[in-house]
């Protein structure tokens, strides 16, 4: 995996981009942090934050001309946040006089500051702090320059004096009543290591570098109003701060131009939209400054602007409390670990690969492909935890084995001729379809493994229905049947080898059948075919229904409201979205669209095999989706139904409403167990062979054992949770009885038997009652005991 490219993608994420208020502030006051402290009521901390960004915050904070407020996005939703009023209140409630600091020796170099106005005292204070010996040359008899313009209005004399006295106290040398002229500058430059010119006004123009404020190759730096060409106080502070950085680097002999991007005001890449934000008016102050309560209310209006577009819709990122930029850094680290623990494995296997984040992201970052590639890389490097996807992969193997897999052409005319007599033919569109058999397979119905497991009783009906309707419209094209698994589990698990085998097999069937169009009924099949088998033409079963007619159903108009849950794998398949809605409307239901639907749909929690890797994570997806929908849910993917059906949540598969009587039918709200799903598929194959092709299959009699199992609901629940199948339990018990290889508990007359099947050792606790056996507990482990 190309980790450099990956990190580049991570760097494009604008989650960490500042809000406009911060970016437009010349000193980048962290407004969000500030208001957050206010909301906590911690004005002391808020003041500390201010003080860390602005020297003399106690004064400047009050007179700042707040360019942030003009840009604040709240302006279009009630009014800008009154940041300046908040800062004034922070000074009032949060200021405390600084602790006495030790005077450090000033040995780093000598700096002259010409002009003791706003930018001059900022430069002086900052460089003094860094250990420079600073001398201020001021032409009047006091420091502060324009600060005094505010005396009596916003600032009081005592405070100004107190703050300015600090400059002297910390050991900065001040020469009052010294007017420096252009001609004097060379002398100062000889005498000092660097000279800062912040005189407010200067006749002669100098070629200033506006990133560093340095003049040519001279040790001369210029800031403040000479550079700003405007009266903004905060701009003077900003240029002073930046010139101080340059002087420090210059004297320290390090590059003064390196990484100086984004100093001063700049444009943030964050384009925070307020269209959905409810307008709230600014808090009006009762006296001349905000009270603490008023501050808190005003702070609460701040939107804390940040790009969270993907995170706010994704249960996965929420659960791991992670943003894509940080996620990508974790993947990068996980991929590079050679010796040591791969801490991100579980997280990487907990993404549903649903693709919603990419739809949400303003800069087009999608975690799906990244996660997918990471899983493939983990598998390739032998670092994918073997237990995570094993059950799903075993299930896929089963679906593609002789136990389920089946390919058949439409029963030939010859084969079916015994049915072709009058009254039967008249009533059966299916038989008329068979009668028109052409021998050329134009369509191949591919219901997929999951639908066949959960809705097996419908498959035969559907097949007959589509033979009938398709033959009526396209007489020369027969409809065949293909049972199997498209390989989605291998894809999700990052198993390229398993995927390639499956795809090759499907492709060869398609070629043998002379390239028919596949009729797909599963959303995962749709996306797998699109990704791996683009040469095969496909159409969804729902489009066939919509186009050629629904099965004979009893349509009663005016039925209730349904929310449609689109399958995430069909996110971009507008034809499926449309045909599902058409069918639902034809059946007489009203549809209420969910906020997240169609291309913005959310995952049911099954995607990416998350339910195998992290049950809790799957659950949070399920709950998120269920709580979004106030009505009964309609789904069209077997896995979505499995995930979203709940005791108190009615979820219908579209086939349930097409074929079932959905009203008050409890059976429709129960899903088969894992073992039943296995057997349903076996049985489906046998049933279809018999019913449609008249072939008897030699069933591998499941009652080949000389005992029958009793399994309670509780034990079934345990089996589901621990992925243990009835078939396996039978094998273990049979083995233990034949070899008497088991433990016995004389107190409870229970046996405990174990058997290793492939990579897993299973334990079954049971009680024998003649040839009936009560299964009381099951568990398993992967660690192998070396018995010698």
């Amino acid at each position: 995996m190309d980790l450099e490219k990956l990190l580049d993608i991570g760097n494009q994420c604008i989650h960490s981009e500042p809000p406009v208020c911060v970016a437009s502030c010349p000193v980048h006051m962290d407004v969000i942090a500030l208001v957050s402290e206010i909301e906590k009521g911690d004005f002391k901390n808020a003041y500390k934050l201010m003080d860390s960004k602005i020297p003399f915050a106690r004064l400047i904070g009050k007179i700042c001309d707040h360019p942030c407020e003009t840009r604040c996005v709240r302006k279009d939703a009630g009014g800008s946040i009154h940041i300046n009023e908040l800062e004034k209140a922070i000074i009032h409630f949060g200021y405390s006089s600084p602790k006495k600091t030790l005077l450090l020796p000033k040995q780093k170099g000598k700096v002259a500051v010409i002009g003791g106005g706003v930018s001059g005292i900022v430069v002086a204070a900052l460089l003094d702090k860094k250990g420079y010996h600073v001398t201020i040359f001021e032409k009047s008899d006091r420091l502060g320059g324009r600060l005094w313009d505010y005396e009596g209005e916003i600032l009081d004399k005592e405070t100004i004096k107190e703050e300015l006295q600090m400059i002297e106290k910390i050991g900065i040398q001040i020469n009052y009543n010294v007017e420096v002229l252009e001609d004097d500058l060379p002398g100062y430059m000889d005498q000092f290591d660097a000279v800062y010119l912040g005189a407010g006004h200067w006749e002669k123009g100098h070629p200033i570098d506006f990133d560093t404020f340095k003049v040519d190759d001279l040790p001369l730096f210029i800031g403040g109003q000479i550079v700003n060409k405007n009266p903004s106080i905060i701009f003077s502070v900003s240029t002073g701060k930046r010139a101080a950085i340059s002087i420090d680097r210059y004297i320290g002999k390090i590059s003064i131009s390196a990484s100086r991007e984004r100093e001063g005001s700049y444009e943030s890449l964050l384009n925070y939209k307020v269209v959905d934000v409810e307008p709230v008016d600014p808090v009006v102050k009762e006296s001349d400054i905000y009270s603490e309560e008023e501050c808190i209310k005003e702070a609460e209006r701040c939107l804390k602007c940040q790009c969270n577009e993907c995170i706010k819709t994704c249960s996965h990122m929420q659960k791991y409390n992670i943003t894509p930029d940080a996620y990508i850094r974790k993947i990068n680290h996980n991929e590079r670990v050679i010796l040591g623990t791969h801490f991100a494995n579980e997280m990487i296997n907990s993404c549903t690969e649903c693709g919603l984040c990419k739809e949400q992201c303003p800069v087009g970052i999608g975690m799906k492909d990244i996660i997918h590639e990471t899983r493939e890389s983990m598998v390739a490097r032998g670092k994918m935890p073997p237990s995570v996807h094993e059950f799903a992969l075993r299930d896929m193997e089963f679906s593609n084995s002789d136990s389920f897999s089946l390919v058949r052409k439409q029963p030939s005319k010859e084969q079916s001729k015994q049915f072709f007599y009058y009254p039967v033919m008249a009533f059966s569109q299916y038989l008329r379809g068979l009668y028109k058999g052409s021998g050329k397979t134009g369509y191949l119905f591919y219901p997929g493994c999951q639908l066949s497991a959960t809705h097996s009783s419908y498959i035969g009906e559907i097949y007959k229905h589509i033979v009938g309707t398709i033959k009526e419209n396209e007489a020369d094209l027969d409809v065949g049947l293909y049972l199997g698994c498209c390989g989605a589990p291998a894809d999700w698990a990052g198993r390229q080898d398993g995927m390639n085998d499956t795809v090759a097999k499907i492709k060869s069937v398609w070629e043998e059948m002379d390239k028919p169009t596949f009729i797909l009924a599963c959303s995962s099949c749709s996306s797998t075919f699109a990704k791996y088998l683009p040469m095969i033409q496909t159409i969804s079963l729902w489009e066939i229904f919509d186009k050629y007619g629904l099965p004979e159903v009893d349509i009663k108009k005016g039925k209730r409201l349904l929310n449609i849950h689109d399958a995430c794998a069909t996110r971009h398949d507008t034809k499926i979205h449309e045909s599902i809605r058409n069918i639902v409307k034809t059946l007489g239901y009203k549809i209420e669209e969910l906020e997240y639907s169609k291309d913005k749909t959310k995952c049911c929690g099954y995607g990416g095999l998350v339910s195998y890797a992290n049950k809790e994570q799957a659950k949070s997806f399920q709950e998120d989706r269920i709580q979004e929908s106030p009505n009964d849910l309609l789904v069209y993917c077997a896995m979505c139904k499995d995930s979203l059906v709940r005791d108190n949540k009615r979820t219908f598969h579209i086939l349930d409403v097409l074929y079932g009587k959905e009203d008050n039918n409890v059976i429709l709200q129960q899903m088969p167990t894992l073992s039943q799903k296995l057997n349903n598929r076996k049985k489906l194959k046998a049933d279809l062979l018999k019913e449609i092709w008249g072939e008897e299959q030699t069933m591998d009699a499941s009652n080949k054992y000389n005992f029958v199992l009793n399994i309670s609901k509780d034990v079934y629940d345990i089996m589901e949770k621990r992925y243990i199948l009835v078939n396996d339990i039978e094998k273990i018990i049979d083995h233990s009885r034949k070899n008497n290889e088991r433990f016995y508990n004389p107190e409870t007359s229970n046996y405990l038997a174990r058997l290793k099947l492939e990579n897993v050792t299973y334990w079954v606790q049971y009680e024998e009652k003649g040839n009936e056996i009560d299964v009381n507990n099951v568990y398993s482990h992967r660690m192998e005991v070396v018995e010698e």
């Binding site: 623990t341 433990f743 107190e747 409870t748 568990y779 398993s780 660690m783």
Partner: protein, 68 residues
């Protein structure tokens, strides 16, 4: 990993009708090889692993090794 915390269990070996004894047993998973005290039949060496052990300590070690 120590399985011996449960040295009193009601189980006996069904085949040999012996009470289980605690002994060092080798276990392995992926690249990990350990010797742990486990209960087993003194005669046929059939090793007993309880549900608590399998789903507790053992699972933890398995997961740790899988993430190595």
């Amino acid at each position: 990993m120590n399985g011996a915390s449960e040295n009193k269990v009601p189980w006996i070996c069904a085949k040999c009708q012996k009470e289980l004894v605690e002994e060092k047993v080798k276990v392995r998973y992926l690249d990990g090889n350990f010797e742990v005290e486990l209960l087993k039949c003194p005669q046929c060496n059939h090793v007993f692993i309880s549900e608590d052990l399998a789903l507790g300590k053992m699972l933890e070690v398995e997961k740790g090794l899988e993430d190595k």
